[in-house]
C-alpha cells in the first residue's frame, strides 16, 4: 500500500463535500426505511422512497408555533444539527483531499460533537413544551455518559499517531488499521456516535413515550432539519470513524476517495442493520455502566496503546 499524501483543497469544494454527506445520509435513511417496510410486511422497495417521501411531505406542511416559544433559540437549534454535521466533515479527508488539514482536527471534531449538547437541549427548550424539555434533559443525561468514554476513545488513535492532525492519523495506519489493535476504542466510538446522533439505542430524547420529545412540537421544515440533522451527524460520525480506525482511504484496486465512501457506507449500513437488534437505553441507567465499566475499559485501551507507542520508541 502506498502512503497517501493528504493535501488541503480549496474551500470551493465544500459544497461537494456537503452533497456527498447528504447523499450518504439519504442512502442510509432509505436502507432504514426498506428494513422498516419489510418488518411491517410491505415490499421493501416501498421503504427506499422514505427519505424523499418524508421530505416532500414535510416541506408541504405548515410550520407549528406554540405559545411563548423561544423562537430564536428553537430555530437556531433546529438548523444547528445539520450545520454541525457539515462542520464535522471539514476535517475528514476524502482520500487524498481534505477541506481543512488543521493541526488539531481531532479536537475540532470533538468540539463539534459538544455543540450537539447545546443544540439538542435548546431544541427541547425552544417550544415551551414539557415533553420537548424532558427530551432535552434526557439528551444531556445521556451525553454525560457517552462523552467521556468518547473523548478517551478519540485519544487512542491520536496517541498511536503522535498527532492530533487527522491526516497524520490516516498516514499512521498504513499497513495496520487502528481497529486491529484498538477494538475497544472503536466500539466505544461507535456507541458514542449513536449517542451524539441521538439515534438507535440512544434515541430516547426523541422517544415515543414522551410524544416524540424534542420532536414533539415540530412540523414542516423544522422537523425535517432535526431528522436530517441526526442522519447527517450519524453519517459524518461514520466517516470520521472510518478515518480514525478503518484506515481512511487505504485499500486495494479502488481509488482512495472511493474507499472512504465505501467504508463509510458499510459502517453506516452496519449501524442501521444493528439498530433493530438493540434496545433503547434509559439515560439514567447508562450513567453507572458508562462511568464504572466503559470508562476504565477505554482507559485501559489508551494505556495499552501508550505502552506500545513507548515500546516502539
Amino acid at each position: 500500500m502506498n502512503a497517501v499524501e493528504i493535501v488541503q483543497v480549496s474551500a470551493a469544494w465544500a459544497p461537494l463535500g456537503a452533497l456527498l454527506l447528504l447523499a450518504l445520509a439519504t442512502v442510509a435513511t432509505g436502507l432504514d426505511g426498506a428494513i422498516a417496510a419489510r418488518a411491517a410486511g410491505h415490499p421493501w422497495q416501498q421503504g427506499l422512497r422514505l427519505p424523499w417521501a418524508e421530505t416532500a411531505r414535510l416541506l408541504r406542511q405548515r410550520r407549528r408555533t406554540t405559545v411563548a416559544a423561544d423562537r430564536l433559540l428553537w430555530r437556531t437549534a433546529g438548523a444547528g444539527l445539520l450545520v454541525t454535521a457539515l462542520l464535522k466533515i471539514v476535517v475528514v479527508p476524502l482520500g487524498a483531499w481534505t477541506l481543512s488539514d488543521m493541526s488539531v482536527g481531532l479536537v475540532w471534531f470533538n468540539a463539534m460533537d459538544i455543540l450537539v449538547w447545546a443544540l439538542v437541549w435548546l431544541a427541547g427548550w425552544g417550544p415551551n413544551s414539557a415533553h420537548s424539555l424532558i427530551g432535552g434533559y434526557r439528551f444531556l443525561g445521556q451525553a454525560l455518559s457517552y462523552e467521556l468514554p468518547l473523548m478517551f476513545a478519540l485519544t487512542a488513535p491520536a496517541t498511536a499517531a503522535g498527532s492530533l492532525r487527522v491526516g497524520d492519523i490516516v498516514t499512521a495506519q498504513q499497513g495496520l488499521w487502528f481497529i486491529v489493535w484498538m477494538p475497544v476504542a472503536f466500539l466505544v466510538f461507535c456507541a458514542a456516535l449513536m449517542g451524539f446522533s441521538v439515534w438507535g439505542p440512544f434515541s430516547t430524547p426523541f422517544g415515543a413515550d414522551i410524544a416524540g420529545g424534542v420532536l414533539a412540537e415540530t412540523s414542516g421544515i423544522d422537523r425535517w432539519l432535526l431528522l436530517a440533522g441526526r442522519w447527517a451527524l450519524l453519517t459524518a460520525g461514520s466517516a470520521f470513524g472510518v478515518t480514525l480506525f478503518l484506515g481512511g482511504g487505504a485499500g486495494p484496486v479502488l481509488p482512495a476517495w472511493l474507499w472512504v465512501l465505501v467504508k463509510t457506507g458499510i459502517l453506516l449500513a452496519a449501524l442501521v442493520l444493528l439498530r433493530r437488534r438493540l434496545p433503547a437505553l434509559r439515560p439514567d441507567r447508562i450513567a453507572a455502566a458508562a462511568w464504572l465499566v466503559v470508562l476504565p475499559l477505554v482507559l485501559l485501551q489508551v494505556l495499552i496503546v501508550s505502552v506500545v507507542v513507548v515500546g516502539r520508541g
Partner: protein, 187 residues
C-alpha cells in the same frame, strides 16, 4: 486584511453577546449568550495560531454552559427559572464595578509598554503546551486537579437526591440507611 475583519467581527460578537447576558430576560438565553461570547473568544484565539487552545476553549465553554443551564434552572430557589426573569441583581452597584473594572483593564492593556518577543515560537505549539503542562507546570496541575475534583464530588454528594440527606436523614444522624432509589451498575 481578512484577519482584521475576522478579528473585529469576532470581537464585536464577543462583547455584544456578553452584554446580552445581562439584557435578556430568560435563563436559557443568558446562558447561551455567554456561550456565544466565549465561542467568539475561542475562535479569535485561532487568529494567533493557538489552534489547540482556541478549539478547546470552544469545546469546554459550550459543554460548561450546557451543564450550567441545568444547574441554574434546577437550583434557582423558589423562582421557577423556566419563566422570564430579570438577569441582574443590585444593578447600579454591579454596573459601576463592571465599568470600573473594564476601564482599569482596558487602560492597562492600551498603555502598558508591551515587551517585544524574546526567542522564537516552536514549530508545534500544541506540543509546547503539552510539555509545559506535563513538565514545569506539573506541580500546579497536580495541586489544582484534586482540589477541583474534590469540589465537584462534594457538590454532587450534597446536591444529589440519593445523597447523604437521603441516606442519613435530615439531621444526618441516621446510620447505614440504603438509598431511596437503587443505584450503581446492578439496578
Amino acid at each position: 486584511m481578512l484577519t482584521d475583519i475576522v478579528f473585529w467581527v469576532l470581537a464585536v460578537i464577543a462583547v455584544a453577546a456578553g452584554v446580552a447576558v445581562f439584557v435578556v430576560d430568560s435563563m436559557a438565553r443568558a446562558t447561551y449568550a455567554l456561550a456565544a461570547s466565549f465561542v467568539a473568544v475561542g475562535l479569535s484565539l485561532l487568529l494567533m495560531n493557538l489552534e489547540f487552545i482556541g478549539v478547546i476553549t470552544v469545546l469546554m465553554m459550550v459543554m460548561e454552559m450546557a451543564i450550567m443551564a441545568i444547574y441554574m434552572i434546577m437550583f434557582m430557589g423558589m423562582n421557577p427559572a423556566l419563566m422570564p426573569m430579570n438577569m441582574v441583581h443590585s444593578a447600579k452597584g454591579a454596573l459601576s464595578v463592571a465599568v470600573g473594572t473594564f476601564a482599569v483593564l482596558a487602560t492597562g492593556a492600551l498603555f502598558i509598554p508591551w515587551p517585544s518577543r524574546r526567542g522564537v515560537t516552536g514549530t508545534d505549539l500544541t506540543v509546547a503546551l503539552g510539555e509545559a503542562l506535563m513538565g514545569p507546570k506539573m506541580l500546579v496541575m497536580i495541586t489544582v486537579s484534586p482540589v477541583l475534583f474534590a469540589t465537584i464530588v462534594a457538590a454532587i454528594v450534597l446536591a444529589a437526591p440519593s445523597g447523604r440527606y437521603d441516606r442519613l436523614g435530615d439531621d444526618l444522624r441516621r446510620r447505614s440507611a440504603t438509598a431511596r432509589r437503587p443505584e450503581g451498575v446492578q439496578r
